[in-house]
Amino acid sequence: MVSLTIDGRPVKVKKGTTILEACEFLGIDIPTFCHLKQLKAEGSCRMCVVEVEGARNLQISCATPCAEGMQVHTRTERVVSFRRLVIELLLANHDTNCFSCPATGRCKLYQYAMEYGVEHSRFAKYKPHHPKDESSEFFNYDPSKCILCRRCVRVCNNLQANHTLSLKNRGPDTWVGLPFDKLFKDSNCVSCGNCVSVCPTGALTAKAGKSYRIWEVTKTRTTCPYCGVGCQMDLLVKDGQVVGVEPAEGGANPGILCVKGKWAYHFVNHPDRLTTPLIRRDGELQPATWDEALDYVTQGIQKIKEESGPDAIAGFASARATNEENYLFMKMMRAAVGTNNVDHCARL
């Protein structure tokens, strides 16, 4: 353990803890653009700088480990004016037409500009913007909104390990692009959307992103309904409808999802969903009440059970339903119907 003070508050942390983590623990808010918990800190955005007594330079809190006796100040004049300058430098070349931006409300640049009182940049705009790429089925890329925090590139290369996004050129000409200037649709992109999930601005946004503002949605932590990996994710819900999915960090998924988990949620609110019980009458499935349907089910089961015994009935449980439902289904077949003819599609 190491002891240090942050803004005069003493704190003890495990060796190797970064200043940012220690601040989080104390509830001290530190602005960040490039920081992503799942990835090694690379310290490129410089927003999270703090003052460490005895150090000539400002130190980035995301990567600097706490040291014994360290005295950290998170909001000195030097720190605040530096952060303000970083915001101004980014704003100089940022497309500030926020009215049409899907990220409005969740944009970190916007949020910090407000917080640090930056209403305009004193610096000159000098960069031409690269063309938009709206070729993906699921998301849009607008380089004019990019602040080069490189989260997308790092997620694509280091977590998804797909190597679709890369940094092109250098210095002020640096931009995030695809090899050989390909469009997403022509590239090796697997549409996992993890770049979209981590973009702090409106550079990478879901195509459906304009349909909700972040303050309109609630988030519910759940488990992905697709393959057996069991990724953790948050459902974004607006007015009783699932409007988006964000990856969460789970035992099986380091804050990433695949194309199905991230984008294939439309079935939930799909008009084809069954909304009422159906009973086959005159050769056709016709709507029925729950009472009718349930009676019909039990009468059918009872009849066959009486005629041919319980083993004339078989039940297929579901690899898609919950443990509790499968348990109950199994219990129904064994305890209420009286047969061990219960299985599911594990083999299929």
Binding site: G240, K260, A317, N340
Partner: protein, 526 residues
């Protein structure tokens, strides 16, 4: 999985066999690629050049249905070169002599011949795996969906045991389960011979325990598997099917036959979220809530129990599956005490040692992996550490390679193998509702090697008829050397151009799994 997913990132070498990981389990695929990025060596054994093959140090493009020959070949090299873990074999296993005798028959040259690979690659792969300290094996349906699937799984276990790689961090045998809660459905006893936690129906003690807890007399004879039940319809032994959330009329092999059987049923109950191919034949359809509309738990492929939570209301009158089943049970004269998923999980925990320590309350804070017998037990990230379920020693179960049940001949000269693609899930009841996914991949197709395509005058994009002894479908051709000459591949997701109209419903004698991965077929321009 004997081990945990996250361990793979630390691996020194990874062996993937019969798993198109980046497409079927993309987030595990990504983590395998992370490992490769950190310097891990990768061996991929697959009949198709799947995306992960491009990341592989050694890609063994084996003929479909030759897994066991390959695995025996690997073990042959490892034993011949003295690369196996002598201490582990001596102290933790039984039956080494028998294993040695079987794999003796699989020298690299013979295996290379059977599998259609270079013997040097086989040797290199064997050395890589055996010498690596942390080396997990990942496998999936490419190993299991064969008439010799059980033997394939055993052979994988043999290989891992031989190299002392079970019960160790970063190693293990790791089957990747295809569906979100297929592990949980098994754990919950939705198997004809098992109660929850694999307590056997045939075990009188287990039965007595459940009889006491449930307050009823329980049937003694193990029941029928899905595939057996469908066969039993034929002779009138099974007259009623109750299907909750499955779509066998797309996922079963030899669909034409299955469809015929289903039509013979006296009473078909289907409970689902959509009117699936199966529901369309039903006598009664019960509308169910989907994962976003209910509370409960799923158990993932690494045995981790995790929550799902109600985020939106179910549409119309749809109800959660547990509520519906609860109602049916009540009307059948059985009253459950538990009245919420939370209470049902508590009942499961009370009857299931491996789930004993799992509760809704605990899952708010952590998601343990079973076995987790008590509330203070941390869960079990790695199985078989120091001890196997059968005792201190594991038993080698060597098996000889047997060719797939159906081999290509003059009439059906090609081997058809099936699998999944990235953009769809199982029978597309869910993913098929995404227009964006359908625009990327909306139609069934068959992959065919350029040499075969030339032989039958087929071009990419052309419509072709694919036929087997059991049926025929018309699909788009995709000419690609991803598959070798003599092999064609189809995804099984699509209703129109359904691969399972062609697949062979011959079963593995032990697991009763159908041989989806190999059947004889032919193609022609349509």
């Amino acid at each position: 999985m004997t081990n945990s997913i996250a361990e793979v990132v630390d691996a020194d070498a990874v062996l993937v066999i019969g798993s198109n990981t980046t497409e079927a389990h993309p987030v595990i695929g990504a983590q395998i690629r992370q490992a490769v990025g950190r310097g891990a060596k990768l061996v991929v054994a697959e009949p198709r050049e799947i995306p992960l093959a491009q990341d592989a140090d050694i890609f063994l493009k084996i003929k479909p249905g030759t897994n066991i020959a390959l695995l025996n070949g690997l073990m042959h090299v490892i034993i011949a070169e003295g690369l196996y873990d002598r201490e582990y074999v001596e102290n933790r296993t039984e039956g080494f002599a028998e294993l040695q005798e079987v794999v003796e028959d699989y020298p690299p040259e013979r295996v290379a011949e059977i599998c259609g690979i270079d013997p040097e690659d086989l040797k290199a792969a064997a050395r890589l795996y055996a010498k690596a300290e942390k080396a997990p094996i990942f496998y999936a349906m490419g190993v299991t969906q064969h008439s010799s699937g059980t033997a394939g799984v055993m052979s994988i276990a043999n290989l891992a045991l031989l190299c002392g790689k079970i019960g160790k961090y970063g190693c293990g045998v790791n089957p990747l389960r295809g569906q979100n809660n297929v592990q949980g459905a098994c754990d919950m006893g939705c198997l004809p011979g098992d109660y929850t936690g694999y307590q056997k129906v045939a075990n009188p003690e287990a039965r007595a325990k459940f009889e006491k807890a449930w307050g009823v007399k329980l049937p003694e004879q193990p029941g029928l598997t899905v595939t057996e039940a469908v066969q039993a319809i034929e002779d009138g032994k099974v007259r009623c099917l109750y299907i909750m959330g499955e779509n066998p009329l797309l996922s079963d092999p030899n669909l034409n036959h299955t469809e015929e059987m289903f039509k013979k049923l006296d009473f078909l109950i289907v409970q689902d979220i959509f009117l699936t191919e199966t529901a369309e034949l039903a006598d009664v359809v019960l509308p169910a809530a989907c994962f976003a509309e209910k509370d409960g738990t799923f158990t993932n492929t690494e045995r981790r129990v995790q929550r799902i939570r109600r985020a939106v209301p179910a549409p119309g009158e749809a109800r959660a599956d547990w509520e519906i089943v609860q109602e049916v049970m009540l009307r059948l004269g059985y009253e459950n005490q538990a009245d919420s998923p939370e209470e049902i999980l508590a009942e499961i925990a009370s009857l299931t040692p491996s789930y004993g320590g799992i509760s809704f309350d605990r899952l708010e804070r952590e998601q343990p992996q079973w076995p987790c017998p008590s509330p203070d037990h941390p869960g079990t990230p790695i199985l078989h550490v120091g001890r196997f379920s059968r005792g201190e020693r594991a038993l080698f179960k060597p098996a000889h390679y047997l060719p797939a049940a159906e081999q290509p001949d003059d009439e059906y000269p090609l081997i058809l193998t099936t699998g999944r693609i990235l953009y769809h899930y199982h029978t597309r009841t869910m993913t098929g509702r995404n227009e964006d996914l359908n625009r990327i991949s909306g139609r069934s197709f068959v992959e065919i090697n350029p040499a075969d395509a030339a032989k039958w005058g087929i071009e990419s994009g052309a419509r072709v008829k694919v036929e087997s002894r059991r049926g025929e479908v018309v699909v788009d051709a995709l000419v690609t050397d991803r598959v070798d000459a003599g092999v064609i591949f189809m995804p099984f997701h699509f209703g129109d151009g359904a691969a399972n109209r062609l697949t062979n419903d011959v079963l593995d004698p032990t697991a009763k799994i159908p041989e989806y991965k190999v059947c004889a077929a032919r193609v022609e321009r349509y």
